[in-house]
Amino acid sequence: MYHHLEFEKPISELENKIVDLRKFAEENNIDLNNEVNILTRRLEAMKKEIYSGLNPWQKVRLARLQERPKALDYIQKLFSDFIELHGDRYYGDDGAIIAGIGMLSDIAVTVIAHQKGRDLEENLSRNFGMPHPEGYRKALRLMKQAEKFKRPIITLIDTPGAYCGLEAEERGQGEAIASNLLHLSRLKTPIISIVIGEGGSGGALALGIADRMAMLEHSIYSVISPEGLSSILWKDSSLAQRAADIMKLTAQDLLQLKVIDAIIQEPLGGAHRDIQVVTENMREYLLGELRILSRHSPQVLLDTRYEKIRSIGAWK
């Protein structure tokens, strides 16, 4: 069952009111169609107003919503014949990263994604979408395999960040992320990344060196979590909302900062309201961009990718 976010309360209240009114009309056999229609129109207007004017913190809440579709939900809909592949060939298989091969329409692709759990049980096996080094190494292994077989790579990003635990440090979280950044920048195959929920710092970036970078409309991407920033700035993680306001973490901010190339539209109220719509928007984006990228030689691809990464930054 979907638990409404606080800024959605006026909407759900109005929705309930409409339901009540209909019920009342039916039970008492009165014609209230006119009233119902007026309220329904008001509801639509209210939704549009609320969802198009979400503040950064509201976006954060939406991006992290338990009900928001996770990578596997999209993978199941986007790719046919998907075969999940496992293991880094060094140490383990990390459930926080899904990797495999499949067909996007008639194109064979490699898919790599962070996977958050859709419930508590899955979240435990997925470590809440926070990978260990073996997750990044599995990703790199299969990205190199994609290069070998000249398959484009599609990554879906959705992570609070790389896991900050003892074992992750022992096994070289820093090395694993760094190594991905280096190798992804030179992979001779097209790479497209889409942030579908939460893009958490280096843990997200390790799957996010791409020829095309998009974000779903209500997803976020930042160097640190709002909680993290507020605890650094004000020694108080409960001021996360205030932090979110200043950190420019929405898809719209990142497009303006030229860190991403496109925003993929979600249905009114967010991706969870109609995953089919989002999936079709994603498919259209992916196929369109792959069509363009496939026209380039690997060398042009690499040079363009480098220029793209190279140009980010601002100074006096």
């Binding site: 596997l72 592949l85 064979a108 096996s125």
Partner: protein
């Protein structure tokens, strides 16, 4: 080391899910869930001969065997080796511990090598190494994907160092296959150990395994002697190797042909004819 793998022809159920931490189960297709389920239920993993395996994988009538005439010799003049070979041949009606050839899997062409666990414990002598290397070279020549089913107690003692060098030979051939961008799928079956594990078994672009197959470098008894304690339940089984990151996917025998076909299909579409083709 070799023999202890083969002493017990059928062994009791070891449920790895009881042993260590539970494996990350994130199957998203119903078949996968079925596989995990079935794996639990299975009382033992039946070993089958290479000939039967080929029948279950390769489309009827499409198999063309390679190098049927290659026969082991006794280069080290190892005592009783010729007799052992002769009785293995008589018992299996095969000339060696591997069958190689080409054929089709649901219509898709491939080169295939299948080891025979009942021919001298599937041990790798120079003929096994040579036949597999020739098969790999055929795959390069014909630009066909390669599938190898492993089942082996390791290197063949009776051919000494020459046997060891087959690890180098097959691996070097696979390196050239890889450079040509040709797909290699390894399918690990019970038991895969020793020199085979330390060479072509672990070099697949994609590594599949049958449920609960014993897969390891050292045999369990050797390890127990070394560490002087019992091995945990489920140690060195397919499920354990998948948890440790060395197996891509565990597939029950009934689904193997379809899974191989699905992988071959994706790879037949890839390559030059993938995104760069005008159809997109």
């Amino acid at each position: 080391m070799l023999k202890d793998l083969f002493n017990k022809k059928s062994y009791i159920t070891i449920n790895m899910y009881e042993g260590g931490r539970s494996p990350i189960s994130n199957a998203i297709k119903p078949e996968d869930k079925l596989a995990a389920h079935t794996a639990k239920e299975q009382k033992k993993t039946e070993r089958i001969s290479a000939r039967v395996r080929i029948r279950t994988i390769i489309d009827e009538g499409s198999f063309q065997e390679y190098d049927t005439d290659l026969e082991a010799w006794n280069p080290l003049e190892f005592p009783d080796y010729p007799q052992k070979l002769a009785s293995a041949m008589a018992a299996t009606d095969e000339k060696e511990a591997v069958i190689t050839g080409e054929g089709k899997v649901l219509g898709m062409g491939c080169v295939i090598g299948v080891m025979n666990p009942s021919f001298m414990m599937g041990s790798m002598g120079t003929v096994v190494g040579e036949k597999l290397t020739r098969a790999i070279e055929k795959a390069i020549e014909k630009k066909l994907p390669l599938i190898i089913f492993t089942a082996s107690g390791g290197a063949r003692m009776q051919e000494g160092i020459l046997s060891l060098m087959q690890m180098a030979k097959t691996s070097a051939a696979l390196a050239r296959l890889a450079e040509e961008g040709i797909l290699y799928i390894a399918v690990l079956t019970d038991p895969t150990t020793g020199g085979v594990t330390a060479s072509f078994a672990m070099l697949g672009d994609i590594i599949l395994a049958e449920p609960r197959a014993l897969i390891g470098f050292a045999g369990p008894r050797v390890i127990e002697q070394t560490i002087k304690q019992r091995l945990p339940e489920g140690f060195q089984r397919s499920e354990f190797l998948m948890e440790k990151g060395f197996v891509d996917k565990i597939v029950i025998r009934e689904n193997l042909k379809e899974t191989l076909a699905a992988i071959l299909k994706i790879h037949s579409i890839g390559g030059e004819h993938n995104v760069s083709s005008p159809r997109i």
